[in-house]
Symmetry: none
Subunit: 379 residues, 2 copies
């Protein structure tokens, strides 16, 4: 649930610190096992969860490139599970812990590969989460398949889910569409791996975390499913990519992490970040966010007069405006929407874009008159 809906102010860079001044866990990293640490959070307290759980990679012997160099694979102890049953039990436990702290309309994003994502997805469904989308992160620069025995594993899968089918999660549709050059955002995201200066390295030049995610991935998830001031939880915080993007975008974060090395790296990273200016963080909203203007207002303000003849775009249908704000088209009377639907023999119709004033080249939808009213109201 966004601050916009609850009516709480979000002028400050970190508005959540105002709203939840008493919540000491905000913008912190909790050290420990994810299930145990999450017990410290109140139930229904986070708006968005991003989880990058262990992938349960079942690597055999070492892998070498054609030039005999050894591939630095992810063979950390935290990625090892004895069996699918053990992995399922682990998955079930952290999903239930996360579920408790999610607000009713919160979103959960989980990323994984074919080693674990099917088990995670099935468990989500078993626990009665509701899947909204699966998203594929297409890697522009994946690791090639050196042995030529499989397809280059060039993607990972992200599942977007809510707590129930009834949830109304934040989805900044209009912002994403503007972001994507006025096309709907699709379920396939083409993004590079986390490399170069973004990749955290230790003093010896070794990568700090084997599977650090690119900030661009989190940027898109937070833009899609959160608003400024929201609380974002990452139960497998690692080196803090989720926190870094949350801070940049004016969201609050909570991280859970077991390894002290990762926590240290994440703290240093987070301290160095300057949040974006709040004015740049406003989300682009489409028509849905605009104030409703009743059709009758056009008559009251004199923009339209009773008795005016309206037509559809092609002139096939016409109707007369009546002083009470209703339309009459032959035997049909009612609202602009109802009469628009009736004359077309359809169930529904948006009267604002269906009905037009004027004729020939001067024909214009009555929605233009509504826009005129809106601009007057702003001034």
């Amino acid at each position: 649930m966004s601050v916009l809906r609850t009516g709480v102010s979000f002028a400050a860079p970190h508005p959540s610190s105002q709203r939840d001044a008493g919540a000491s866990w905000l913008n912190t990293i909790l050290k420990g096992d994810c299930v145990a640490a999450l017990e410290k959070l109140p139930s229904k307290s986070v708006d968005l969860v991003f989880a990058d759980p262990p992938y349960n990679l079942q690597l055999g012997s070492d892998l070498h490139r054609p030039d005999q160099s050894k591939v630095d694979a992810c063979d950390d102890h935290w990625d090892q599970f004895e069996s699918f049953e053990a992995y399922d039990a682990f998955t079930r436990a952290w999903l239930l812990a996360v579920r408790r702290v999610m607000k009713p309309d919160a979103s959960l994003y989980v990323i994984g590969s074919y080693h674990n994502i099917f088990r995670v997805g099935a468990m989500l469904q078993d626990l009665e989460f509701w899947i909204m989308n699966d998203i594929v992160w297409l890697k522009s620069n994946p690791m090639p398949n050196f042995r030529g025995k499989r397809f280059t594993n060039a993607h990972e899968t992200i599942i977007w889910a809510t707590k129930s089918p009834q949830a109304k999660p934040t989805f900044n549709y209009d912002a994403l569409k503007a972001f994507n050059d006025d096309l709907q955002m699709r379920s396939d995201w083409y993004l590079p791996l986390c490399t170069g200066s973004e990749r955290l390295k230790d003093a010896g030049g070794q990568k700090v975390h084997p599977t650090q995610k690119p900030e661009a991935l989190l940027y898109r998830i937070l833009t899609a499913s959160s608003n400024p001031g929201d609380v974002v939880l990452d139960p497998f915080f690692g080196t803090g990519t989720t926190g870094a993007v949350a801070k940049k975008l004016g969201r609050s974060y909570v991280g859970v992490e077991r390894e002290q090395d990762y926590i240290d790296a994440a703290r240093a990273r987070l301290e160095a970040i300057t949040p974006n200016d709040p004015s740049a963080l406003e989300m682009h909203k489409g028509k849905r966010a605009e104030k409703r203007i009743p059709f009758g207002t056009l008559l009251e303000t004199g923009l339209l007069e009773a008795g005016t003849r309206l037509t559809c775009a092609k002139g096939r249908h016409e109707a007369i405006v009546r002083a009470d704000g209703s339309l009459k088209a032959g035997p049909h009377t009612g609202s602009i929407h109802k009469v628009g639907a009736l004359v077309q023999g359809q169930d529904a119709c948006n009267g604002w874009t269906f009905w037009h004033t004027g004729s020939g080249t001067k024909k214009a939808p009555i929605d233009d008159l509504r826009k005129e009213i809106r601009s007057r109201l702003q001034a």
Copy 2:
């Protein structure tokens, strides 16, 4: 196991008819339930399985496009299951039946969407299949999300598995690499839907099957994981796309299908096919080459920061970049293109060339930043 390895000749268009002259089930469609029908096949008899099981879509009420036309959804009885438990039991049964008839080194490909693929994948692992890859079919022309409530569901997932980790499945690595302009074939395949003349229609012009797959998809799978003369099984044969591609490519097929209408359509389709039709050999060269870069990518990658001031070439108009990828110029907000049009009072505008960063002699169109991204993605 391929004929190449077993040394069997494959000169004839239907070499399998020589090898298995006594196998009456080759190149036929078995009518009936998939589990029962597969009992008629000997164990360890097929080289490749492609399965397109019911997705268990769980659709609610009708869906209409913005123009009020009704979406012709897949609401057939065979796609309905009472519960996840029922779907799991169904999945387990057909997977076991398929497992029995697979040769030890055979490959299994299963396609699905987020509604079912996680359950299928988890069941595959539970039954000790070994996953080689998951592959995403990116649809060039998916159905949009009409209500603007989710990401456009623009892909389906295909799992490639073998019977065990020890299996040595056919994988025509070099053929695929040549096929893909000397690049390794990746796990993301960009292909159009099955439409136009390829889509089977009945006398009334209605689609015969609600979910007919494109031949290009099967073409790629058969090319990757089978050799001429191999036996390809499709336990959910539908209107016979698998059989059609198998016949064209000189493989033998076996199909199982319950619905007589689909069987009739598939028989007619298969009879009309001449093997080795080169027209089916063409691969769809997608937009991969000319990758579209959304404006928001500049923000995600940090090339442009939220709050940056953009101007037109002459400095007459200016706008502020917001973190969600939209612009704000006075009262106008929206995409770079929309806001560019609005400030000029025009209908359309190419925001990439209209908006500039910097000032004076350092002024440069944001298109330069896009070029920078493109060169990074290529590297």
